[in-house]
């Protein structure tokens, strides 16, 4: 083992956490190796998550907008149709471009990229294929995978997870979406735009539990108006083939059977922390078996870090990126820590829904006092100029004691971009009155925050 390759850092998994950590630490002068078992850099986010869905959703938005063009005085005389082959091939092109970009960035930073499945042999040794690598530090960035609920018959039907619809060039006439989280609702929006009959089945009494409830109800009603059907407080008890189609049996509040062409299962994701030797390290865990870590992303073995979906904290790409940054700063001996209170959540449907900080239902549940400021989006002139026959809402929750911002929640395009300033405001502990004094360019949709504060 004299010729064993020695690294300062081994990163396992090249998703947002892994590639961010690898690039940044290598740029800081560390000798870094990254292991990726799939063929492509970028992880779920880039290959079968955030980026491909947003690319497809943008095609859907272009389609929606062409259909609505006459409202803005643009006359289209002929047919407007999605060309599914082109939509999917464009999506592939976008993903390919960005995957190559990540690869190039890692190579430029001097990161050694190993395609293969890594196995942690000891706290300083990682094995891949027939090679062993010595490393001072290990970043575990192994991501997450879909949870498939133990529904009767589920293994007998060709269900979809988040992966298959990305390749779908033959739009199903009907689709049932099991689970009304972000993934389920984004695909509901997409397939609805593309012309499918969409049914969203959600066990809880409302979809999108992580978002502001008032806005979720508004969004769900918009979806319903567009033709999406919702079965809330509804459990799927069994699925089975019925000819070429899938029979979905639900219970108990709305017991019924529906027959659909496709079934998409989006009932949540589970972190991946086993199967690659991590358990060998005997890291400290809580009583549920979750690996403990500090705010600097270190586990009980301080040279072993856990970033991204693999720690199960927030399961968002931007959290992963930030966790990786914190881990690298820690590695470099600098002070940094993750603040989970200012992580924005975004639903990239049309219209977008975005929020950051506490929701009203969280504040109520915890008995925390708050002031609610709320305005329709149409208070912003730019929103009126760009949204014919659509409204939305901006809701800001403020701490009455010190005027700091508890949360900001926006339904309306482009909420995803506008929420960035809100995340910053919460991070910086800005007070409502001070934030309101900022100059917002006029006219912008983002001005709604100034109006609302």
């Amino acid at each position: 083992m004299d010729d064993i390759e020695r690294y300062d850092l081994a990163v396992i998994g090249a998703g947002p956490a892994g590639y961010t950590a690898a690039e940044k630490s290598a740029k800081a002068g560390y000798k870094v190796v990254i292991f990726e078992k799939s063929d492509h850099m970028g992880g779920v986010c880039l290959n079968e998550g955030c980026i491909p869905t947003k690319t497809l959703l943008y095609s859907a938005k272009v389609l929606d907008q062409a259909r609505q063009a006459s409202k803005y005085g643009i006359a289209i005389s002929g047919e407007i149709q999605p060309d599914m082959k082109k939509i999917v091939s464009r999506k592939k092109k976008v993903v390919r471009k960005l995957v190559l970009g990540i690869k190039q960035r890692l190579e430029n930073a001097g990161v050694k990229i190993i395609k293969g499945e890594a196995y942690i042999k000891s706290s300083h040794h990682v094995v891949c294929d027939d090679s062993c690598y010595y490393t001072e530090n290990i970043f575990v960035c192994t991501g997450s995978e879909p949870i498939i609920p133990p529904i009767s018959g589920i293994n007998e039907v060709p269900y979809w997870t988040h992966r298959e619809p990305l390749e779908c060039t033959d739009i199903p006439k009907s689709i049932a979406i099991l689970g009304g989280g972000v993934i389920g609702m984004e695909f509901a929006s997409y397939f609805n735009s593309m012309g499918s009959e969409v049914t969203v089945i959600e066990m809880m009494d409302e979809v999108l539990p992580m978002f502001d409830e008032t806005l979720v109800v508004q969004l769900r009603e918009m979806y319903a108006k567009r033709g999406v059907r919702f079965l809330l407080s509804t459990k799927v008890t069994a699925v089975a083939m019925q000819g070429d189609r899938i029979l979905v049996t639900t219970a108990p509040t709305q017991e019924e059977k529906i027959v659909v062409d496709k079934l998409l299962v989006s009932t949540g994701r589970r972190k991946i922390t086993t199967g690659f030797g991590l358990e060998n390290l005997k890291l400290d865990t809580d009583d549920k078996g979750n690996i403990l870590q500090n705010k600097r992303m270190q586990t009980s073995s301080h040279h072993i870090y856990l970033c991204g979906d693999a720690n199960g904290r927030s399961m968002l790409a931007h959290t992963a990126i930030r966790e990786a940054e914190v881990a690298v700063q820690t590695l470099l001996g600098r002070t940094d820590e993750i603040i989970y209170q200012c992580i924005p959540s975004v639903l990239y449907a049309n219209p977008e829904l975005a929020g950051v900080g506490y929701t009203e239902q969280e504040l109520k549940a915890r008995g925390i006092p708050y002031i609610l400021k709320e305005l329709p989006m149409a208070y912003a002139g730019r929103f009126v100029a760009e949204n014919e026959g659509v409204n939305g809402t901006c809701r800001i929750l403020i701490n009455p004691n010190d005027q700091r911002i508890w949360g900001v929640h926006i339904l309306g395009n482009p909420a995803s971009e506008i929420i960035i300033q809100a995340a910053n405001a919460i991070r910086l502990k800005r007070k409502a009155n001070e934030w309101k004094r900022s100059i917002f360019p006029h006219p912008t949709v983002g001005e709604i925050i100034k109006e609302c504060l």
Copy 2:
């Protein structure tokens, strides 16, 4: 004069400065009267500026997008045509809605609205029609008007200013735009989308002097590719009718004659501070005759305030709004002041161009050291997903001594919304490294700032 109406505040002009000041001071308990000589609340911004142009530009964007739809996999089989009557009538509807909204807000706040031309009789008396009003304070919010350069023949041709194109339902085959500032460039974009042959004639060697030069060159080249013709360093020496059309003679660098259907003059705006009695007050002025005022918007007579375009400082609606806020805070005896260093500038073309803080050319001219961070917009995955065959650039200028942000400049949609966070960062004196630690939702176009920092 015993029955003279007495007010705490008289506001002259109901544009963004005036309506903001009137509403806010009335809400704070002041007795407020506002005078507006035109038929509508909202001033130039709402009636013939920001809002109508953005509404028209959005129709143009919908048109551009429909034409580009096939790039995103959306097949449109027939003709795509602007329906100009509908575009203009929709614009009117949007303006009407927002004008009524302003009126309602003022009424709800208890502001007395007087339609008529106000005249300042003394420092506490304002006359309108046959009535005289006593007021403790006066806010002068009289706005600005287009400058028409003394070109030979200008009064013999039916030239347009910013007003007439807003009503144009018969798209001219050709149009010459005199002046490459924001107004000129936005109309150039609009008429180009609508199918006109557009020529922009600019006396300086570059258009859009207030924006980052590098980005302006990129934008101008995009315009040129779309078919807009630019005559830079070119002066119009004469205009004359030639049949139904207009003959424009230019000199000296590109001496030529062009014949166009329409001529739009957008060579700048001039503050309005005379003609309504302000000169009676003998306020202190600088040696150029500009009325002096402090950072709290007060003139040398502290109860006379000057806000918005009328003070000639920045000529932007959002500056006017902020100045009005500062003036109201001052009125209320609170501490506030205007900071002109963090006023964003936006060009609402397609793509948008936005900037805040110093430009590189300003830093160079002043000999101020800076670090330049620059990335193509395609570094942001969301931008790639939503912009086929288009790129853009993000440029951040940083003070090398303390890592604070000198300026942020972005070319690419939706720059107008993204620049908000940059304006906030400059206002808060954030350091690059600290700002970079914020969590930006992924994927957003706004992430380009995190990447760039």
